[in-house]
Symmetry: C2
Subunit: 442 residues, 2 copies
């Protein structure tokens, strides 16, 4: 944003549209000292990022535009632990894939990435210092508090794994080891964030601020399609696939409360338009902002300030232009905007958004190679799927050489990479975590 | 033992007097191949080792005599975590102190220590590989199984710490990282041991054997004195202190079931006598065994095979010589051995046992220096105790610079080193752990 923005303006910009801010004074303080605030957002490189990732990325674009240093934690250790059948080497390819993709998103949006830093969890989460701090934390935290912290994001199953109790503490330590001032995530992370605020100081470390996005339902979700595995939109899906998936998404006339498309317009498309208008204004004033390759979502003849346009045939009333989400929501509730028209407008905007990202993919041989390694074609070795599944039978106690040392050899079922699942991850969702795990994709 | 011992004889020797053996075939196999079996026993270097340590050490003397390679894990990470007020530097001094002391014990007993290896937990428990395996294990083990494994040895409190759930897994990984064939501990470790047998193979590692000592009550314990903090006998206590503590120990006429002194005779004094007789026999045959500086516990005129002698004035029946514990136990139950006589005999044997260890301490300036650093005089800075205790008050959420980073600076109350507590640790007790923690001394 403009170099002349005041600390108050920058704070406003950093915290706009959020669901909740904890420790805002800390960020105000940093801004008033003219220091660059630093933040982190984490994601575990497992399945291919889908369109739901735009929810946190849109907010991260705000941060970057406001001059925040953003560290994206590619939580490879967590990705590996979530599915130990995937060998570390596969996770390494996926980590690279995520970095290619996320950079392409910001490039396409014209958001400068000089302040964007990718960090792999394994680069510090296995060090002597971190391990010791992890043990110290475990000797400070009660089982009860760890369990409570993870209650909303760690998969709640009958026989929970021990790792679920470690993740909240690790996420707290990440703040210290990444050296950030605040952590960003979905509001489903709230208990993990307040846990971090309580426990980091007990280890002698600073309490950090926490910025939270509202939860956003999956774009194609809604209860009717939530079990349809094919409905999730990969960021690199070709236009015809995107069109088909959105057209088959649940979007009931007049229903604004269960409407993934409306939610996506609110949380992603309008904010991206907004950010574009702000940068256009900056450029008009001679500023150095750039717009990126993503086309505007609104037609050239739309009135100034328009963020989203429903285009209709003149015989149905012609186009309607919106400069605030509330108006669109009201019109949809009153059925003056038909689901078909909303879908059509969303398709056009989403295709405009994805087009330069897909173009970047198609122009990059390196990225394509990484993609092939990260997500091997499930059909390539289909015959292997027939293999009898090996089940582990522990040898009976005391059975001598049964116990001969074997090598640690996690089995990768190449024919079964992460299966895409339906419900898109609660946008702001943090890493390790699992609104995510519930989606089976992290 | 004799180089001509058969694998069967060595196995018999390794497993004699144990409460339970799991996976004995594994050890038989190793012995039959002429390979040296390797084992580990762990202890956390916290308070000064007291006389109860002789229970596991007596069995370890058997292992060493049978040519087993014994690794003693000085679990410094655990010691630090158990009491984070003690800084790491203090734990490092205590670790050295433990090594001095344990070596002195085996030297005094004349047990060769060429196969005795001391390993500090921090030398491998904070490495990248171990940390990753720890995470893998946590992503494999359920909370339920971890809790069950620690049920008997992890302190059962209302708000248990997360670390208590990690210790069983770490103890399993120790077997792998120390490269041993079996782990030795008290029978209170049984659930931790079977946990290791189940889970190590799931990480692709070999299942190990587990050898367990029976639990032995504290020497001066018994219910009457168990809350008397002064009754625990430090291995370096001077003779007059040892005498006084044993004389005031609970030892009721005819009561053999709650009798720490009888138990100590059974678990330590008679086995040490036995080991001495065996080595005398070996020497007589021209073998290379040595006897060490500990005097025999029986008078020179005792009949061959005598393991323990109750000396009495001729007017009370004169001395009685025992070559089996059962006879002594029966005589005590029948009140033909009076507590005073049992105590007198125990005092003489224990003084004989401790004398050369104390002499080694007094001859070693280095050891004394380490002792002064490891256990600073609690009276030296008594005035500091008056200092107001600092209590942690977390700053209210969002309170800006309250959260400024502070250095991790654990506070060591030099005036309050580990306070000796009464009940001696269940002899075979393993490290981390806590029949031990219940005693507050590990």
């Amino acid at each position: 944003m403009s170099a002349t923005a005041t600390p108050e303006e920058r704070f406003e910009f950093i915290t706009r549209r959020l669901g909740e801010v904890l420790g805002g004074d800390l960020i105000k303080n940093i801004l008033s000292q003219g220091v660059t605030p630093k933040c982190y957002w984490g994601t575990a490189p497992t399945g291919r990022p889908h369109i739901g990732y735009f929810v946190p990325l849109t907010k991260i674009a705000d941060f970057l535009h406001a001059g925040v240093e953003v560290k994206i934690l590619l939580a490879d250790v967590h990705a590996f632990l979530d599915n130990m059948k995937a060998p570390l080497q596969l996770v390494a390819h996926r980590t690279k894939y995520y970095e290619y993709l996320l950079r392409a998103v910001f490039d396409a949006l014209g958001i400068p990435t000089s302040q964007l830093i990718f960090v792999e969890g394994s680069s510090y989460q296995l060090t002597r210092e971190y391990s010791m701090d992890n043990y110290r934390l475990c000797a400070t935290v009660t089982e009860h508090d760890a369990k409570k912290a993870g209650a909303e994001v760690v998969k709640q199953v009958e026989s929970p794994l021990l790792s679920g109790l470690l993740y909240p503490g690790m996420q707290a330590l990440d703040e210290q080891y990444l050296g950030v001032d605040f952590q960003f995530g979905g509001i489903d992370q709230r208990k993990i964030f307040t846990f971090a605020e309580l426990y980091l100081p007990r280890l002698g470390y600073a309490k950090r601020a926490h910025l939270m996005n509202e939860m956003v339902p999956g774009l194609t979700g809604g209860k009717m399609s939530s079990s349809d595995a094919g409905s999730k939109i990969d960021i690199l899906d070709p236009p015809e696939v995107v069109r088909k998936k959105i057209n088959s998404a649940f979007c009931e006339e007049g229903n604004t409360s269960e409407n993934g498309i409306l939610s996506f317009v609110k949380a992603v498309l309008m904010p991206i338009s907004q950010l574009r208008l702000e940068r256009e204004a900056e450029i008009a004033k001679g500023g150095s902002a750039t717009l990126g390759a993503v086309r505007s979502f609104v037609p050239p003849d739309a009135p100034p300030g328009t963020l989203f346009t429903i285009s209709r045939d003149p015989k149905w009333g012609g186009p309607t232009h919106y400069n605030a989400f509330g108006d669109l929501e009201r019109d949809f509730a009153e059925k003056s905007v038909h689901p078909k028209d909303l879908k059509g407008a969303a398709i056009n905007a989403i295709l405009a958004l994805l087009e330069p990202i897909r173009a970047a993919y198609e122009a990059s041989k390196e990225w394509q190679e990484v993609a092939a390694l990260a997500y091997p074609d499930p059909n390539a070795k289909k015959h292997e799927k027939k293999k009898k599944e090996k089940k582990y039978h522990p040898p009976p106690p005391g059975k001598g050489k049964n116990a001969t040392k074997t090598q640690d050899k996690p089995v990768q079922d190449a024919a079964k990479p992460d299966v895409p699942v339906t419900v898109e991850p609660p946008s702001g969702a943090n890493v390790k975590v699992t609104a995510s795990q519930q989606n089976g994709d992290r």
